[in-house]
Symmetry: C2
Subunit: 209 residues, 2 copies
């Protein structure tokens, strides 16, 4: 298909598609003469992925380029594959985890920080919260980790083992990007449900019954 | 203190402080002549809050203005207070929840969408995931809601009932802003732990034992 047809199929404008091509987010079409190129279903799929990462995941263009580069050359090991997914999803920047934080997380039985993007992200987000004056107790962290294992149970599915590495990597990245907001929304709904139980006028009136 | 001292105390530059004053994120100091104003600890605290909301929460300036406006005029009811917190934290935009999605969530025993920013956010994030081709089963949603109730148990603490409304509202907003990234990082660590159990070369070798 021509670039105008790719635009129709994806709902993304031609100037934006040309920008994606220049920035390396979208692989070139097959050349047809000096000024025309042909695009196919792999381009449609890639454009949709890029839009998901930008619109829902709020990833920067640089981060999206890292994702598509990783997808084109995925690691062979299933386990490294998840590390790759976590690495591209993690917010850029942040100082390396402190030894104190690493030791604290290890003492809680959480995986340690060496070579794990996920553990680094945990140490960094916890440090950021503490620097802003918000302390999470060890009991809360342990309880939250158990809760998030229950969430992750639906993420790390056996089907991943049978997928080609590129598909498994896309599954891990897109799954997190699309469902992190759902997990956070469920946290809010759960807060509201508990707040209604604990603080609503009805429960205050009924507390003495 | 002078604005230069407020800058020293908070690590935020004078031009940025003046920008916060112009944008209504920071309340004016007490006037001392035509060109000078005096600032106090309430300004230090407010500037730190604004930085947390911008740096960690990645809230827009408009959203931060909504937060500080709400903090200055908090609702009296504890329960409405959480709704106010959820409303300012929710991503702007998005279409209203569809009737199908509202009915689906109600059938699962999740609170319905009427007048609840949290339920609206859940319906919107789920619809966005489905539009991008990612379907979550009812079983996964139910299990995730139970997991997030465990997380929320540490959020909706009895101490909230004793706080002045403004403090309780700040607690709810800052708590979510600072710990949403921790919850998401714990999800990644949990994925990694489960992936190691299920897919690592060692577990593959040991699977037949």
């Amino acid at each position: 298909m021509r670039i105008s047809e790719l635009a129709d199929a994806t709902g993304v404008s031609i100037p934006t598609l040309k920008y994606y091509l220049r920035e390396g987010l979208l692989h070139p079409g097959r050349a047809r003469g000096a000024t025309r190129a042909d695009y196919d279903d792999t381009h449609v799929e890639r454009v949709r992925l890029v839009r998901t990462l930008i619109d829902v995941g709020r990833l920067s263009i640089d981060r999206v380029r890292e994702v598509v580069t990783a997808l084109d050359r995925p690691p062979e090991s299933r386990h490294l594959l998840l590390g790759t997914a976590h690495d591209v999803l993690r917010q850029a920047g942040g100082s390396p985890p402190s030894e104190t934080m690493t030791a604290r997380l290890a003492a809680l039985g959480l995986p340690d920080c060496v070579d794990s993007p996920a553990s680094t992200q945990l140490a960094q987000t916890l440090s950021a919260a503490e620097e802003a004056g918000w302390h999470l107790t060890d009991a809360t962290l342990t309880s939250w980790f158990a809760a998030m294992k229950r969430v992750a149970d639906a993420d790390v599915v056996p089907e991943l083992a049978a997928m080609p590495p590129g598909d498994a990597l896309r599954h891990a990245i897109v799954g997190n990007v699309l469902t992190d907001p759902v997990v956070i929304a469920l946290r809010r709904v759960a807060q509201e449900a508990l707040s209604a139980e604990r603080f609503s006028p009805a429960s205050e009136h009924q507390a003495s019954r």
